[in-house]
Amino acid sequence: MATGVAAWLPFARAAAIGWMPVANCPMPVAPRDNHKRQDELIILNVSGRRFQTWRNTLDRYPDTLLGSSEKDFFYNEETKEYFFDRDPDAFRSILNFYRTGKLHYPRHECISAYDEELTFFGIIPEVIGDCCYEEYKDRKRENLERLQDDQEENKDMKLPKLNFRETIWRAFENPHTSTMALVFYYVTGFFIAISVITNVVETVPCGSTTNQKDMPCGERYTVAFFCIDTACVMIFTVEYLMRLFAAPSRYRFMRSVMSIIDVMAILPYYIGLVMTNNEDVSGAFVTLRVFRVFRIFKFSRHSQGLRILGYTLKSCASELGFLLFSLTMAIIIFATVMFYAEKGSSSSKFTSIPASFWYTIVTMTTLGYGDMVPKTIAGKIFGSICSLSGVLVIALPVPVIVSNFSRIYHQNQRADKRRAQKKARLARIRIVKSGSANAFLQSKRNGLLNELLELTGTEEDEQKLIKSTSLLESQHHHLLHCLEKTTCYPVCSLQAHEFVDEQMYKQNRLETALQNDPSRSPSICSHDSSVGTCCSHRVKRNAALPSVSVPSTHPIPMHQGPLQELRAIHIQCGDLPSHTTSRSNLNLKTDDSGRINCRGAQITTAIICLPTPSALTPDGDGLHGPPQQRPPPPLGHPAAPSIQTTTSSAGTNIIKVSAL
């Protein structure tokens, strides 16, 4: 039942009295309205703007948020109103829906914001009134297209490894993907141009030779043109065959327009080769040469504008059809009229109706060659009417086609713009993300430092070091920390995985790749083994506090690169010899070194470096993503022979302290 007429239900019920006298059976009992409350005003406070309405108004649509008991969740006891923390402007149209039963879409509102509001309040968009529904749907479709474009581009970015065939196909479709593809693209473009130019120049008269008449250049320099033609056709053939080979669906490729154009571009040549000596069909052969002009269509692969034009014409097929049809009608009418009008005049060129077609077409398109002109007065009158109507008929469908073209063209522009802006956007997003990741790492260090300082017991340093992070941040960091601790290896042998900075991660991978030679014994920092060296931290000895760009200056020869090193607190449990391929002998029981560096530490966004074994390949987005989902290292791992631990093997419960 339409709830908009709920107000009339009492009336309908009352009118049912009219059935009573004729009823044969007794009536059922009426439902009682127990809590018969008077209609009351409800206050809806939406972000400070107060809306008031009758409770009955809201009750009209019981399957929405405001009409059901769901709004009780938003009831504020103290102020006796319902508080919603939403956009008050959008709420206006939603409340009007309850009042009038029609939902309107305000044009200035962003479509996705509006959609969200509708979803929040439990209203389906289908109830939007007819007046606004079209606009809503249009905007929604546009938005979807935009999002789809984005998604498609994202898909491009992440590609699995392709085999040879797919690589070639991709190279053909997107020449920008590799240099070879780009080179090939330009080369083919060049040859298309050459081919078209030669076709044209072939027919130019080239100056006379001993014969009196001018020969076209094609006949004069037959050999040269033939060579050029051969070269072009060879390139085109090679290209076509390669495309055919690489196409994911050969049948579909062969049916596509571009491939047909390709075939038509090269066929005349081959047919010509076959048929050169046959004079009878040389006429037909000459016709075939006409098809060589189709090579110019191959340019559409190279030019986006041409493609857009073609697509526009395809999508405006109905308008073009209408144009053609109306023109034909008008031509026939006017040709008939002109013929009969000019029949009387002598030496009239309007010999038949089809002959008048030519006059009509030329007049309607305002060409006016002047080879056929009416001479009688009637003919002139009708001729002028013809030209006026021609202008009108042609001018009508053209704007539709133009607007279609403009829409498609702008869509393309937008896509290009988006692609160009995307890089900058992604870079900025990455910076923000890494900023937050760094904040986490730093707060972790702060936390560790606090622990340390508690051990050493200095108050004022603690105060200095406690940076005030907001509650949200600290809770978030605590969460990440818990996650790290969760992914501890069950034996709790130092294998808690930790977040690391992306750059660090990359460097580590590079390092592990480089450091594959076992001969470097003390450089245990990274092994290619499956040792989960994640917990090992390199420790910087004796050095000054690391600033961001200090290269490692420790004496142990390692492929450091510009790695930032820090000491980290590293709690090991279990009595395994420390796998920490850190130069742990340097820092074993280290309070002193720790202490030295802890005092007056500068807080920099230093980074814990975690060499990661190359055997395990976490996913590429090292940003702050989930910690590396490694399978727990094999149990036999503690005894992995390749580890050379130079740690003093006290082993158990070694605490290393990190310094900032």
Binding site: M1, A2, G4, V5, A7, W8, L9, P10, F11, A12, R13, A14, A15, A16, I17, G18, W19, M20, P21, V22, A23, N24, C25, P26, M27, A30, R32, D33, Q38, D39, W54, R99, T100, Y340, A341, K343, G344, S345, T376, I377, A378, I381, F382, I385
Partner: protein
């Protein structure tokens, strides 16, 4: 030869005539000349008649509703019909929405006539509220009177079998097609027979108001059902 000349001249004439007519029409469209004495202006469509009800006190006096109830009724009424009056089509629309499975338009027509006491083709708020007052707060006598009025289509004081049949068919129409057991053609007719047997005491083929009221007052079911909707509103 002559025919050719005539053809040419004929066409010439036709051409000139066409030209002249077209130019006259163009001027007419542009508004530069007008044909008839009464100038062609846009006919002002009379906007919908708007109606304002009498004051609240008067309505309170005339009906048995309290002030608050009248307020609530009026608000609902005005929301649905902002112009203040209901015409028959709107009335049918509204009433049909309560009976989606059948065709309520015929019955709504009868109902409209019953509410439209002054027979001016539209139901104003006063008519509406007076009708409701009788139905919801009236005595049994008044209600029966109202029902009689409803059945008596031509308002001549007698209910004939044809009138009753019309009403009955309208009521059965509201049930729609999907009933169980399936409604047969003669079901309304049979129902009318039963009704007349019960009501028509003197068997003269019509039911007068007195017969009607007498009969209903003696019928338990009917009396009980009259009180059914008393707590509506």
């Amino acid at each position: 030869m002559l025919s050719a000349i005539w053809e040419a001249e004929g066409l010439q004439t036709v051409g000139i005539v066409v030209l002249v007519c077209a130019s006259i029409k163009l001027l007419h469209i542009l508004g530069l000349i007008s044909f008839s004495e009464d100038s062609v202006e846009d006919e002002l469509e009379l906007s919908a008649v708007r109606h304002r009800p009498e004051g609240l006190e008067q309505l309170e006096a005339q009906t048995r509703f309290s002030r608050k109830e009248l307020q609530i009724l009026y608000r609902g009424f005005k929301t649905e019909c902002p112009s203040g009056i209901v015409n028959e089509d709107t009335f049918k629309d509204i009433y049909s929405q309560f009976f989606p499975q059948g065709d309520a338009s015929t019955y709504a027509h009868f109902l409209f006539n019953a509410f439209d006491t002054d027979h001016n083709g539209s139901v104003s708020f006063e008519d509406f509220v007076m009708g409701l007052s009788i139905l919801l707060r009236g005595t049994v006598q008044e209600k029966l009177n109202w029902a009689f009025n409803l059945y008596d289509i031509n308002k001549d004081g007698y209910i004939t079998k044809e009138e009753m049949l019309d009403i009955m068919k309208a009521i059965y129409d509201m049930m729609g097609k999907c009933t169980y057991p399936v409604l047969k053609e003669e079901t309304p007719r049979q129902h009318v027979e039963v009704f007349f047997q019960k009501m028509d005491k003197n068997k003269d083929g019509v039911v007068t108001i007195d017969e009607f009221i007498d009969c209903c007052q003696n019928d338990e079911n009917i009396m009980r059902s009259m009180h059914l909707f008393e707590n509506v509103l």
